[in-house]
């Protein structure tokens, strides 16, 4: 299904685990350095109300004075677990795109604030870069370096799977529970 800007609470609450979405609008990259910076009280250089944060450190090069995205897949989200939920609440971030899923704290905040976790396919840097149609800006690049900067990407039908929703469901929690049971039986 299509998920188009503006990313309102109503649209996000309508999503459920297992849904395949295609996102159109502006999304912001933000990973380890950005999350720590915001958590430590740093001022966001962009308006994060009803925004989508993408856990991604892209390869972007300047060609003929223009930014060109060479690769842009997701990075592992679990590292942002301590920060994500509170930042979603504080700034009105509606959705997080990443890979590997997040933990119970983020899931709780998704329920509380009307948020969702969208799983992009890890390693699929070309398929995903293809859906970035324009680079609208870059922030904090001097401070954190290119992969850790906030890149403003205009995306068109960017694909992801809902793996944590605002109704308390998490595909990651489910797979972990089932595989752990199986693991115990293998160990005997």
């Amino acid at each position: 299904m299509l998920l188009e800007a503006p990313f309102t609470e109503e649209k996000i609450r309508a999503l459920h685990v297992g849904d395949l979405v295609e996102i159109t609008g502006v999304i912001f990259t933000g990973r380890d350095a950005v999350h720590k910076y915001l958590h430590d009280g740093g001022k966001p250089p962009v308006d994060l109300k009803d925004s989508i944060i993408y856990h991604c450190g892209p390869v972007v090069v300047k060609e003929n004075g223009k930014w060109v995205v060479k690769a842009a897949g997701p990075t592992t989200s679990a590292r942002e677990e301590p920060y994500q939920g509170p930042l979603m609440e504080q700034y009105g971030i509606r959705a997080v795109i990443g890979k590997g899923g997040m933990g119970p704290k983020t899931l709780q905040y998704c329920q509380k604030v009307g948020g969702v976790y969208l799983h992009a396919i890890g390693g699929a840097a070309q398929v995903l870069a293809e859906r970035v149609v324009a680079v609208k800006g870059v922030h904090l690049a001097e401070k954190f370096g290119s992969p850790e900067a906030i890149w403003e990407f205009q995306v068109d039908r960017f694909p992801a799977v809902v793996t944590m929703d605002s109704h308390g469901q998490s595909l990651h929690a489910q797979v972990l529970a089932e595989s752990t049971e199986k693991f115990k039986s293998l160990l005997g």
């Binding site: 060479k70 890890g122 070309q126």
Partner: protein
């Protein structure tokens, strides 16, 4: 050989490694994809992965944006000393970064500053050996941070796993590593494992064993049997690609061993993601590549 010719060949090696997945890995991915149910999230993950492999090759762009730690093994003949090789490789790396074959991926661990050209203390990570013949053999691997972060080391005995100092204990550790990595390491993964060694040599040997071909059989029948068993058992866990649930959790297990001291018994696991980027070539003194080691 002219240093510029060496540099040009190394740049091509870096480009191929970043953009083209070797055919043995592609075959394993295709085999995994066939096992997943139509319409499942796992099948979807494989579809995107397969599309991505083709696109990266055609566009000559990084398969994955995390172009990883650059790990280099060079067997140097008498005509190429370490300093010459290092300099040529570093120049090729800076050039590869500039044109976007590699991400700016080298960060000062103390200040957090990105060097911008992938150069700095320990990056690239070089391993030099003396060649027995006249050819220069280079192997390289790009190992992303997601899969490196889920690599792990066990010290036996391990009470949590009920793992003692024997092959059964080793099996328990390796299965646990596959369980713990779920989702986070960009599965389906490939495990390089070293039994024994010290903490440093164990991890190095675990990574080196990833240079084996995906579909080869371990020369040691005890380890061949263990590899086969663990692969089957790990895939019965149901973790699946990306941790979405599914039939393919791992695509390969490669086990090696090093002698240990009586007091230590380490099991080191190097987890490699599906974007298993490794390549290499054999270069003649005349500057001609006579063989690619892992053709795409």
């Amino acid at each position: 050989m002219d240093a510029k010719v060496l540099q040009k060949n190394l740049l091509e090696l870096i480009r191929r490694t970043s953009a083209e997945l070797p055919s043995d890995v592609v075959r394993a991915i295709e085999a995994g994809a066939r096992k997943e149910a139509a319409g499942s999230n796992a099948k979807y993950a494989f579809d995107v992965i397969r599309e991505n492999i083709g696109m990266a090759k055609v566009k000559s762009q990084p398969l994955c944006q995390d172009t990883g730690t650059i790990i280099v093994y060079a067997e140097l003949p008498s005509w190429c000393d370490e300093k010459t090789f290092r300099k040529a490789y570093e120049k090729a790396t800076a050039e590869a970064t500039k044109v976007g074959y590699l991400r700016q991926n080298s960060v000062d661990a103390i200040t957090g500053a990105n060097s911008g050209d992938n150069l700095g203390p320990g990056s690239p990570s070089f391993h030099f050996h003396q060649a027995s013949g006249k050819a220069l053999t280079v192997r390289m691997m790009l190992k992303g941070g997601g899969c490196e972060n889920v690599s792990t080391q066990y010290s036996l005995p391990d009470a949590r796993l009920g793992a003692g100092r024997d092959l059964e204990g080793v099996r328990r550790c390796i299965l646990d590593s596959a369980l713990q990595a779920q989702g986070k390491g960009c599965g389906p993964g490939i495990l390089g494992v070293c039994v024994g060694g010290d903490r440093g040599t164990g991890y190095i040997a675990a990574k080196e064993t990833l240079f084996r071909e995906m579909d080869d059989v371990n020369e040691d029948p005890r380890l061949a049997k263990l590899e086969k068993r663990i692969l089957k058992e790990a895939n019965s866990l149901g973790v699946g690609p990306m941790g979405f649930g599914g039939a393919t959790t791992l695509m390969g297990v490669k086990i090696t061993h090093r002698n240990r001291v009586p007091a230590s018994f380490f099991v080191s696991v190097a987890y490699m993601c599906w974007a298993f980027r490794r390549n290499g070539f054999v270069l003649s003194e005349g500057g001609r590549i006579t063989r690619w080691l892992y053709p795409s």
